[in-house]
Subunit: 219 residues, 2 copies
DNA sequence: TTGACCTGTCTCACAATATGAGACAAGAAT
DNA sequence: ATTCTTGTCTCATATTGTGAGACAGGTCAA
């Protein structure tokens, strides 16, 4: 028996189908190839997901992620008031530093980007909202791991750690002592330098405080 | 047998759970009440969805829509290039009119808002991205129904049709003759008047043309 | 303390349910 | 005309999910 992710076989298969069309819409044959399901099963589940709006056919008749996902994402952020409340502080951080800024939360041993603003520079970091990143690399990872050294200092930096050529500085957003999110700026090493904390830590930490205030988090 | 939406019972139940937590996060008992599932089944499926990231526990331990939805929504809009390409034109339309603007696409006999910008006014229309609206009411509905009169004129208006106190003007975004989307402005009747087309149709139609150009749609 | 009543979680015998090989029609490419 | 595709559907089979009920731990009131 193939090991089941969730204990519910049908769900695993349905989610495998969603994952298969996530990177790129594809026809039934490609769906079968990417998921390893039988043709009949892939088709049946795809049609079922289509009925629920999680899948749709694009102009070429291929399967693509459906518009139901938009409403679900909205519900997800609504239940996570941080992202909305943080927006003004994130905008200010981007304008003050001129670099891309991101807000991450921890999710089951990984971190997910729940808000992202891009630098106006031509060469810039791009992290889409919803992107899943590891917890063991990057300044945001250190923050969300609640590394004692990082917490004492109040911020973390990383240089070419998670991705070549990229440097970043992040600070914890706290609520009642616990770290609930990580704010950060990131960009090319050429602009941020090999000691990005020296230049950006102050602004990043200020943004973290502003987010805590905006979200009315308990101190 | 309860009639199944999709033909796959487990999927129906799983999606029912997602729908139940969509409006507001809730504990297991409320989940059972809202979905009509047995306690054991609701719990088992909720845990399964949690394993897939579509569900998570919030700070109070209640079930909420998970962060996986963010990545899916991104995939959905990526496969629907219109929303991104239309953004500059939508911003210009909002700034020119001072009213909320929306972009809708047709989806299975309904319409879904795929982009939404809000008016700076205190009293304004709010349509969240991902919102599902009927096709048989509102100016956007007329456009997406491809009403012949509307297509000849190039735009549609509605006054207190879909919602009391709200007026709107929409125009079709075309590709190869077919209507692929509807752009529109909407706001309180007090500002838009009972003949909103007279004042706003020109700007809305111009926005539609700009979107077609930005998305490089075939004429 | 006690008891009543909540949570969330788990087990297990049962049968309802999803499965997948294969058939089918309709195009597309040869 | 032949040979690939493509999406769709059927049906006998057993794999799979089901739900009553038990359980542990928590909260509340008396």
């Amino acid at each position: 028996m193939e090991q089941s992710v969730s204990g519910i076989g049908v769900l695993d298969k349905a989610l495998a189908i969603l994952a298969a069309v996530e990177t790129e819409p594809c026809a039934l044959a490609a769906l079968v190839e990417r998921t390893g399901l039988s043709r009949a099963t892939a088709h049946r589940l795809a049609v079922a997901l289509e009925a629920h709006g999680l899948l749709r056919r694009d102009a070429e008749g291929r399967f693509a992620v459906g518009l139901r996902a938009l409403a679900l994402a909205r519900a997800a952020t609504d239940a996570l008031p941080l992202a909305e409340a943080a927006l003004p502080a994130l905008e200010q951080l981007r304008d003050a530093t001129g670099e891309s800024v991101q807000l991450y939360v921890r999710d089951e041993g990984r971190r997910v980007c729940i808000a992202s603003l891009e630098s106006p520079h031509g060469l810039r970091t791009i992290v889409p909202t919803g992107a899943v990143l590891p917890l063991d690399a990057g300044s945001g990872g250190k923050v969300l791991r609640a590394d004692p050294d990082v917490l004492r200092r109040g911020w973390a930096e990383s240089v070419a750690e998670r991705e070549a050529g990229v440097a970043s500085v992040s600070a914890p957003v706290r609520s009642g002592g616990a770290v609930v999110a990580a704010v950060g700026v990131s960009g090319p090493i050429e602009r941020l330098s090999r000691k990005p904390g020296a230049r950006y830590a102050e602004a990043v930490v200020a943004a973290a405080r502003a987010i805590e205030a905006a979200a009315a988090l308990a101190p």
